[in-house]
Amino acid sequence: MSGHAHRDDVGSKLGMWLFLVTEMVFFGGLFIAYSYMRHRYPAEFHLGGAELNVTLGVINTLVLLTSSLTVVLSIVAIQRGEKSRVMGFLGMTLGLGFLFLIIKSFEWAAKFHHGLYPNAPHLATLPPGEQVFFGLYFVMTGLHALHVVAGMAVLTWILRKVAKDEVRQDRYIHLENGGLYWHLVDVIWIFLLPLFYLAA
């Protein structure tokens, strides 16, 4: 509000890291619930994992990892002042995020088709451990997907700022912070893949 444009990039990044800590603890609560339940129902988690499509899970992992690479490339590009390449790489990141969501929705649709969703009549006939497995599967991948959407919204907002030259070679802390958030979304997925898809 005041005329003093106070700028502290180190402080901004510290704030972002602290926010990422809260995100990690947020998912940490779910990982605790997961480890407790898996300890309780090892055999059922094994069976549940066998129902998931490992190929699609691995493809999605590659998609997200590539999107993290393109975010890094966009930061390299902005340091060199190559605006059009920044926008290109950010566009690719958004595209890959979108691809991830499409593949995810196919997976979810298949589970719904097989009656493997919370409160489904078919799921209720399975042993309790498997019901919990799919409860956790939908909660954790669902909340992760919400974070993908949030990350895409943030990157779109930054893309606009790049277009208007508000984020540029000498001032790109927003892009760095947005990139950090995107990496977090990526890292959480790296943990979800073995916990669910490779549980079998």
């Binding site: 509000m1 619930a33 939908f138």
Partner: protein
């Protein structure tokens, strides 16, 4: 607006070119945001006190014609939600932390001023959702503020909306924590080393870490309850392989550390008040600073003491019992340091000191009854009785509440540039103190003799003590009315306070009252520790 470098307008005069209410609702000035919190919290406090007052009336059985049992369930739920989530958790941190943290470390504002204002909007959104839940859907939540499953999953009342409100309030708390940590790391004035910071800053720093590390656990727990209610995912539902005990663990993993979110800033404010009125430096600066961090650390590992009767293993019970007793040590360190600071000080007995000493007295009762419950054998007997209710009101109201009153008396002249009638404040103290102890010591006795909490009716043998406690609640409310009436009167009609009415030596007393927009004409350079009274005498 033009002004010379030597005469900034005060933050109250600087409207940022906007009029009336908008000048408050759009300002990113940390001082204005602190006042916004103060005003909104005063509103919620009066509602919370009102509900508590009515709950006491219900225990005079003649009033049960007006309040049904179901309404009573809603009343204690709403009283808890308002008092805990809207008052003591944000508490001193958002009011005095916002207003004074930047000033105490010699900064112009917090690290992220716009985020700071956004936090207030999150706070208000959460508050409004929580209040809306009373009047919409299936009626006011009746689960108690702890939202325990399975009841919170089965009840037809509007639990989901109330929980969503608490979830949003969590965001406000986390973002404030992030803001304060970054502020302390990045914006200390030149020469303001870590061990030259006033101890309020250490308390806020420790609190902020708890806010960041504990609040997300509450967030995910509440999200799981909402998802459970909406989709029946089964994580807390034994019929689907889930475990209700998991809810209690997750809930208390946040909600016990939250107790330290409530009390640490209160201890910080007391640590500012005591040296000023003792006229000497604080005894054991580093011990107090580290005890804040120790409370934050150990306090995060004691949640299981809420669950001794929930069916945990004997080993877990013993471990949590031990940790619970250990957390009393750093709290006691603070108490001893405060008392030692007063020893051989040149004590200037003023209203803030009276309330600070009252805090120490009431907090000791609260703390010691807490240690009693940490012992497993005692805990099994007093679990879910009025003893628990008495204990946490001693800590939360006698502790955080009275520290808030003390801090408000201490900093009111600085915040608004006006002095209140000290006589009227002394008068308000008597009914407050006597009423408080009648009400909550009465509850301790009721609990030990077997009165369960949250009951709508009671057996005849408990009646005399219930009447005694209810009369205490009337005195307490009378004292509160005089207290707030005095401050309100002073706000409009009070005499000018002057820049340093108490002879304090921390940075806020070196600037005008009320503080100018950018706090300092020139960012100060710090050469000594925070409580150097000898310098003033020279």
């Amino acid at each position: 607006m033009t002004y010379s470098a030597t005469a900034q307008p005060s933050y109250l005069q600087n409207t940022g070119g906007r009029k009336g209410l908008m000048a408050w609702l759009t300002s990113t000035d940390h001082k204005r945001i602190g006042v916004l919190y103060l005003v909104s919290m005063a509103g919620f406090f009066s509602v919370g006190v009102g509900i508590g007052f009515v709950m006491r009336l219900v225990q005079l059985t003649t009033f049960q014609k007006l309040i049904t049992a179901q309404t009573y369930n809603a009343l204690f739920t709403v009283h808890g939600v308002i008092m805990i989530f809207l008052l003591v958790i944000p508490g001193l941190g958002v009011v005095f932390g916002n207003f004074f943290l930047p000033i105490l470390i010699g900064a112009k504002d917090v690290a992220f001023p716009r985020l700071n204002l956004a936090s207030w909007y999150f706070y208000m959104t959460g508050a409004i959702l929580a209040i809306l839940s009373l009047f919409t859907g299936g009626g006011a939540p009746d689960t108690g503020w702890t939202f325990y499953v399975p009841f919170s999953l089965k009840t037809g009342t509007n639990v989901s909306l109330a929980i969503f409100g608490a979830f949003i309030l969590g965001f406000s708390s986390m973002l404030t924590g992030i803001n304060f940590i970054t502020t302390i790391h990045r914006l200390r004035a030149p020469g303001m080393k870590w061990f030259r910071m006033p101890l309020m800053c250490w308390a806020l720093y420790a609190t902020a870490w708890v806010q960041i590390l504990a609040t997300p656990i509450l967030a995910i727990t509440l999200v799981l309850v909402i998802l459970e209610r909406l989709f029946g995912i089964g994580i807390f539902d034994p019929a689907k392989g889930g475990d209700p005990l998991l809810y209690q663990h997750l809930f208390w993993t946040y909600s016990h550390p939250a107790v330290y979110i409530m009390i640490l800033p209160a201890m910080g404010a007391i640590t500012e008040i005591i040296p000023t009125f003792a006229g000497r430096t604080i005894f054991g600066y580093k011990a107090i600073a580290f005890s804040s961090m120790a409370i934050a650390g150990v306090g995060s590992l004691v949640w299981g003491h809420h669950m001794f009767t929930s069916g945990m293993s004997e080993f877990a019970n013993m471990l949590f019992s031990l940790l619970t007793m250990i957390v009393a040590v750093p709290s006691a360190i603070k108490v001893f340091n405060w008392v030692s600071t007063l020893y051989k000080g040149s004590i200037d007995f003023q209203p803030p000191l009276l309330f600070a000493l009252t805090f120490i007295f009431l907090f000791c009762i609260g703390g010691l009854t807490g240690v009693m419950q940490g012992a497993l054998a005692v805990n099994v007997n007093v679990h879910d009785t009025y003893f628990i209710v008495g204990h946490f009101h001693y800590v939360m109201f006698g502790g955080t509440g009275f520290a808030f009153f003390a801090a408000l008396l201490y900093w009111f002249p600085k915040m608004f540039g006006k002095m209140y009638s000290k006589k009227a404040i002394y008068v308000s103290w008597f009914p407050m103190f006597i009423g408080f102890n009648m009400l909550y010591f009465g509850m301790l006795i009721l609990g030990v003799t077997g009165m369960p909490r949250r009951y709508y009716v009671h057996l005849p043998q408990f009646h005399p003590m219930h009447v005694f406690a209810t009369v205490g609640s009337w005195l307490l409310v009378l004292g509160l009315l005089i207290y707030f009436g005095t401050l309100l009167y002073a706000l409009f009609k009070g005499e000018k306070a002057g820049d340093n009415p108490w002879g304090g030596v921390t940075l806020e007393w070196t600037i005008p009252s009320p503080p100018p927009v950018e706090n300092f004409e020139e960012i100060p350079t710090i050469t000594t520790g925070p409580y150097h009274f000898a310098e003033v005498e020279k």
